[in-house]
């Protein structure tokens, strides 16, 4: 690919931020450690009976993924707004849609994917039957990209603020309600002996729509933050 094309800009941004994350790879672990600690708190709070734990395991996993995904959001655009690379992206004349998509992909690869891998472990530890775990993985595969889209939009909206604090969660969590409901609902449906297909199809529709339109919103939020 010729330098300066939309493709090199997309991969270049992904490579640059990926390299930056790799330099501080200790931070990549923090959502995972957070998820494991919170998962440990549930048996301590609810008691160790396996029937009670396994009945809430699906919902607990989804809430943990949702909360742990918040931890890395603030850094997604904050440093770009501070060091001027957000300006450079906007002035470059490259399609912002693709650059926003690269940011979303980066958040998913650095947070969504690791959580996707650790969530089944948590589910099994809480006593979820294997059939539920398989559905959970599939639902997370469809749901976590949407959480990254919503999160990236919120991070872009708050990038130029000195600190986003609770605001980021206040924006993301209400918008994530449908993902949570259908994601946890799919697992629940399988565990009570029903079909997960309806919830999974709705999740898939949400994933397609949010990946198509989310980068547009994220791009306009990036432009707003640079102004």
């Amino acid at each position: 690919m010729r330098n300066g094309s939309a493709g090199t800009a997309f991969w270049g941004l992904l490579a640059r931020d990926g390299m930056g994350l790799w330099r501080r790879r200790g931070e990549l672990l923090s959502p995972l450690i957070f998820a494991l600690i919170v998962a440990t708190l549930f048996p301590l709070a609810l008691g160790p009976e396996s029937t009670r734990l396994s009945s809430v395991a699906g919902g607990v996993c989804w809430v943990i993924v949702l909360l742990a995904g918040q931890l890395s959001l603030d850094a997604l655009f904050r440093s770009d707004a501070e060091d001027g690379s957000l300006d450079a992206m906007l002035v470059s004349g490259q399609p912002l849609y693709l650059l926003a998509l690269a940011k979303i992909l980066l958040h998913w690869l650095s947070t969504g994917l690791p959580l996707l891998l650790v969530a089944p472990v948590i589910a099994l530890a809480l006593g979820m039957p294997p059939s539920g775990v398989a559905t959970l993985i599939f639902a997370l595969l469809l749901g976590t990209p949407q959480l990254s889209v919503i999160g990236a939009c919120a991070a872009a909206l708050t990038a130029s603020l000195r600190r986003s604090g609770i605001l980021l969660a206040l924006i993301v969590l209400p918008l994530a309600v449908p993902v949570l409901i259908f994601g946890a609902g799919a697992v629940e449906a399988v565990l009570v002996g029903g079909q997960a297909s309806q919830a999974l199809l709705l999740l898939a529709a949400g994933a397609v729509l949010s990946l198509a339109f989310g980068p547009l919103v994220c791009a306009s939020a990036m432009r707003m933050s640079a102004s």
């Binding site: 939009c153 909206l157 708050t158 130029s160 603020l161 986003s164 605001l167 206040l170 924006i171 969590l173 209400p174 918008l175 309600v177 449908p178 409901i181 259908f182 609902g185 629940e188 449906a189 919830a199 709705l202 949400g206 919103v217 306009s220 939020a221 707003m224 933050s225 102004s227």
Partner: protein
């Protein structure tokens, strides 16, 4: 230039808006009070009690119009936000931001009246009923828009951020509502709904409801104009037209010093 567009731009100019809003406001306050009084009288005194829920059904005449307003105002906010984002009309930014606390107020009223109604109906103040849960999520969306706006020092930038969020929220509202309905049927939680889905409602109950719906709309417009006027005045405080409206004050101070 298209005449409608010209009108829009003229009304969008702050001094003209200030004067126009000042002239319209009393009318809307009056309409809201009169229609609201009639609606409340018909609803609280004349309409029949429900055969199942008894007198407590009268909360409906506040609860339902508030719920309508809570959603209507969010849509209005997103509409103003779209105008602000696309055409940078300053007044639409002001209207959007002024509408947010009013919408939040109606959402809070809906939640409070809903839980008061829930007490005799469900035997508890809070039931995870689909409509009430959606309304609660709507309240959080209002929190987000207001919180985001107030986090910015530059109010025009804050308004743009809030406008983007209001638009995302509006697109998501039906999805959230649908997902909560779906969640409710999955778990088969509540048995009695506050309002049954049947549209056959007796005219003696329908009239007060419609009157209250009009009254809350008028109240919203009056309150919105009031808030927006104050905002415009604050925003434009350095401008000549605002200074000209306050001739008495500088004259008085100069009189004291001389």
């Amino acid at each position: 230039m298209h005449p409608l567009w010209l009108w829009f731009h003229k009304t969008g100019s702050p001094p003209l808006f200030y004067r126009l809003a000042g002239r319209l406001m009393p009318w809307f306050w009056a309409l809201a009070l009169i229609i609201g009084a009639v609606g409340l009288y018909l609803g609280l005194a004349r309409a029949p009690a429900d055969y199942l829920q008894g007198e407590s059904v009268r909360i409906m005449y506040i609860h339902v119009p508030s719920a309508w307003m809570s959603m209507f105002i969010f849509a209005f906010m997103a509409f103003c936000g779209a105008l602000a984002l696309i055409w940078h009309v300053k007044i639409s930014e002001v209207l959007m931001i002024s509408a947010a606390p009013i919408g939040m107020g109606f959402t809070v009223i809906t939640l409070i009246t809903g839980s008061l109604w829930g007490r005799p109906t469900w035997g508890t103040y809070w039931e995870w009923d689909a409509r009430m849960t959606s309304e609660l999520v709507l309240l959080f969306l209002y929190f987000g828009v207001i919180g985001l706006y107030s986090a910015f020092d530059d109010r025009r930038k804050g308004a743009r951020a809030a406008a983007i969020l209001a638009l995302i929220g509006l697109v998501n509202l039906p999805i959230i509502h649908y997902s909560v309905e779906w969640w409710n049927t999955l778990h088969q939680g509540s048995s009695i709904k506050l309002l049954s889905g049947k549209s056959t409602i007796h005219p003696s109950m329908l009239w007060p409801l419609l009157l209250m719906a009009v009254a809350t709309k008028c109240w919203f417009v009056a309150s919105l104009l009031n808030r927006a006027r104050t905002d415009v005045l604050e925003m434009e405080s350095g401008k000549d037209w605002v200074q000209q409206m306050l001739p008495a004050e500088p004259a008085a101070t100069s009189g004291q010093t001389s």
